[in-house]
């Protein structure tokens, strides 16, 4: 094995060895299916990897691209550059320019007789034709996407056996004929590809075979919710959050919970409040427009101290924006979008796998602190499928709902040191109370008195401020006088950019914040000890994270903002360039 693929990008040293493959085709060509099978097979063979789906504006049947990255190590981000682009056809393929960068060392594969669009060919790369359609036709029930799959496996050194296993499993319902046709297709493709002359050896050596999962961030969030104790979900579908709900509906059922499809987001957030009031940890998933509709009632959860968890899988904004693409531009509304002074929790997963932990943690925090927690995931985390190590089993010791039997002189909103008051649940005799979004006395009676207001305001803030969030608040890696401060899905590319610099002997600190509210000034100050330059990296236009940091933290040294809106993801190269440019400035 040589490492042509890895050295071909000017600055990939230090980044995980990996292979990036784009599989393109128009509607019905089956690129997504083939891409998914390639990923699963790679997992079978002991690799890590990820796959992103990209498609045109058509509701269905438009052009599509499966973007894969495979590696012997876990990968958390795509590179911009692709080693291999294989197009089953070229219809509207130029739509993906920008998402797929090629260079001289890339290999571009097309069906025989096709014409590579200029936008693609001008990026460079060696063009190879394979008779995809023709080979498919020669097989009974054969399809070009399977031929392409075989060719790719051959090129990258993926054992066909792994593909066969995956195909047999995924086509089991369609019967043996379908399986046979597909296997014939991949064999034909593999054979054809082996004849391509002078092909560099793209193969990646798999690591030892521990339990590996294939999961999307949305599925991981669903599992995290159930692990955190969520048993009631009410929701209204919205791209790109729907898959959380689709995973949860049948799985909640298995664990004795339930998902209700509500008439709209106003209903779903309020159903949660009811579920939670009844003692059942409750969650919803949505995206920006839905979150906006929920803010009034999230404020009710805060004021009435009723735990709820809202997962916002962010997409391009503002307004309906770009529903199918990722952006981190809902940070502001998550932090500041409630009317009045309404302290609450905002957390963000920093990788696909971390969607599990962060959602579970959010549930724990909401329950323990009797408040609303917003989880800021995004389309790129939620809808990308990754091969990851089996996630650790974490159990939090839950708090919060402390009252299960009659207590003398029960005061639901009693003012105490920790700020968390005892909360009874319906069915508990002698502890009846009325939860209220009006300002209230310690017993819950509405009050407009200044003392009551300040006491309850202080209490609702204090309980969040005083809680010990431990090390979960951020991920801190490396040393160095330059630090990158980032969050969420921008963490992956930043991490990889820093690894690239590390390989050049340059040390850059990574601080990715999982806990965005309440603020953690002492912790961040400690993490920034000795830092002289801070680059703030985020995927939005308004530099929302940068301004949030300025507002709430005293940051040492020079601050610089790298805020890039969607729909294109921030790439490791971009961050690498920014850091290098700053160093040389």
């Amino acid at each position: 094995m040589n490492d042509i693929a890895f050295s071909s990008s000017s600055n990939s040293k230090g980044a995980p060895q990996s292979l990036s493959i784009a599989l393109l085709g128009s509607g019905g060509s089956g690129v997504m299916t083939a891409g998914g099978q390639l990923l699963d097979a790679a997992g079978q063979a002991g690799w890590y990897g990820m796959m992103t789906r990209s498609s045109g504006p058509q509701i269905r049947g438009g052009e599509a691209a499966a973007l894969l990255r495979l590696s012997p190590q876990p990968v958390e981000t795509h590179k911009g550059r692709f080693d291999i682009l294989l197009a089953i056809d070229w219809l509207n393929a130029d739509r993906f320019v920008g998402e797929i960068i090629l260079d001289q060392k890339s290999i571009v594969i097309g069906d025989s007789g096709g014409t590579v669009p200029e936008a693609i060919s001008k990026m460079g790369g060696r063009y190879v034709e394979l008779p995809l359609t023709q080979l498919a036709k020669s097989i009974n029930g054969g399809r070009p996407n399977m031929v392409a799959l075989g060719a790719l496996a051959q090129l990258i050194g993926l054992p066909l056996r792994a593909l066969e296993t995956v195909l047999s499993k995924s086509l089991a319902k369609k019967g043996q004929d379908a399986i046979d046709a597909s296997i014939a297709g991949i064999n034909a493709g593999a054979e054809q590809a082996s004849a391509i002359p002078d092909i560099p050896d793209f193969a990646v050596t798999p690591t030892e075979n521990q339990e590996r999962w294939s999961i999307t961030g949305n599925e991981a969030a669903g599992l995290g919710a159930i692990r955190g104790g969520i048993r009631f979900v009410a929701a209204y579908p919205i791209t790109p959050g729907t898959e959380i709900l689709e995973w949860l509906a049948p799985n909640l059922k298995k664990v004795g919970g339930v998902l209700v499809q509500a008439e709209d987001e106003l209903a779903s957030i309020n159903q949660l409040i009811g579920g939670s009031f009844g003692g059942t940890p409750s969650l919803t998933a949505t995206s920006g427009p839905g979150l906006a509709l929920m803010t009034e009632s999230i404020g009710l959860a805060v004021a009435s101290e009723t735990p709820v968890v809202v997962v916002d899988v962010m997409r391009g904004g503002p307004s309906t924006g770009i529903p199918t693409k990722s952006e981190q531009s809902d940070l502001n509304i998550a932090l500041y979008g409630l009317h009045g002074d309404a302290p609450h929790i905002v957390v963000a997963p920093m990788s696909i796998g971390d969607c599990l932990f962060t959602t579970q943690w959010a549930t724990h925090l909401a329950e323990t602190l009797q408040t609303a927690a917003i989880v800021l995931s995004d389309q790129s985390l939620g809808q990308t499928r990754a091969l990851i190590d089996k996630p650790a089993d974490i159990a939090f010791v839950s708090g919060g709902r402390t009252l299960t039997s009659k207590s003398e002189n029960f005061q639901r909103y009693v003012v105490n040191d920790c700020g968390v008051s005892p909360m009874s649940i319906p069915g508990t005799p002698g502890c009846q109370y009325t939860a209220d979004g009006l300002e209230h006395t310690p017993t819950g009676t509405p009050s407009s008195r200044a003392e009551d207001h300040i006491q309850q305001l202080n209490k609702r803030k204090r309980k969040l401020d005083q809680f010990d969030y431990g090390d979960h608040w951020a991920k801190i890696l490396g040393e160095g006088e330059t630090a990158v401060l980032t969050w969420g899905s921008s963490t992956g590319p930043v991490r990889e950019a820093i690894a690239m610099l590390e390989a050049e002997g340059k040390h850059v600190r990574l601080i990715s914040m999982r806990l965005l509210l309440p603020i953690q000034p002492e912790r961040l100050a400690a993490a920034l000890q000795g830092v002289e330059k801070i680059l703030v990296v985020e995927q939005c236009h308004g530099a929302q994270f940068y301004h949030y940091l300025r507002a709430h933290y005293d940051l040492p040294g020079t601050l610089r903002s790298m805020a890039v809106p969607g729909p294109l993801m921030i790439r490791p190269d971009d961050v690498y360039s920014e850091l290098t440019a700053w160093e040389n400035a």
């Binding site: 699963d40 997992g43 079978q44 339990e211 590996r212 999962w213 294939s214 999961i215 599925e219 599992l223 159930i226 692990r227 048993r231 009631f232 009410a234 799985n251 059922k253 298995k254 664990v255 004795g256 339930v258 209700v260 509500a262 008439e263 709209d264 106003l266 209903a267 779903s268 957030i269 309020n270 159903q271 409040i273 009811g274 579920g275 939670s276 009031f277 009844g278 003692g279 059942t280 409750s282 009034e296 009632s297 009710l300 009435s304 089996k390 089993d393 319906p426 069915g427 508990t428 005799p429 002698g430 009846q432 109370y433 009325t434 939860a435 209220d436 979004g437 009006l438 009676t445 509405p446």
Partner: protein, 279 residues
Amino acid sequence: MDTVTQCPSLKPKDYKSGTKPVWCPGCGDYSVLLAITKAMAEMSLSPENVALVSGIGCSSRLPAYLNVYGFHAVHGRALPVATGLKVSRPDLTVLAAGGDGDGFSIGGNHFMHACRRNVDMTYIVMDNQVYGMTKGQASPTTDPDWDKSKLTPGGTKINPYYPLVIALASGANFIARASSTDPNGAAKVLVDAMRHPGFSFVHMLSPCVTFRPEQKDWKKMVRSAPVEPTTDPAIAAKRLMTDDNFFLGTLYKGDRPAYQPELKATVDNISELDKGFIL
């Protein structure tokens, strides 16, 4: 459905919390409060197994005056809160209550969908044909020519909203009207509603003496509906077409099964769910 623990010794007043209502002297809502406590006593409900959820408005202040679990939610959202509560806690007796603005204006969508969804709970709308809390604007049930609100000089000129008709059209499983001018009659209707499985809607006339003083006459205008409750939506529809807003009693009882997903785990351990992800 009265499946909860019973408490036969409680009197109506035992269901009151003792908190002094903010209502104007003479407000109809006092009698609604009374009727609810009578109904609860009649059904021997244990206060801790009952929850009443409301929105925002004078009428929505009700839960704080009861000795059951209560939720004073935001404007228009009593029904979804109650829905989430009942679906996840089918063991509780769940009521929702509020005003005509809360339930039919800002909360109108939830009302319609609650009727269709048919979760086993009772919804009481205290209709005074006005927004009391915000000092007297027209509500959906206000007559088009009521011109006392500065917001709609000359009247709304809009067709009023017929709550019972909408309830029937949306599939409510139980439809009744009661009046705060007759708390005993109202209590009976409430018992009937709470006992009926599925979503039961009680249209409760409750005068606003401050902004609609003419409603004091309602006492004289209400009368029992001269009919038995029907289970036939077509008959109910016909009946409601000629309804003049003052017939009291249970007007429709459907027999659709209540919506209640079963909450029973089928796996022993949640780690079973991991299996779907293992390669």
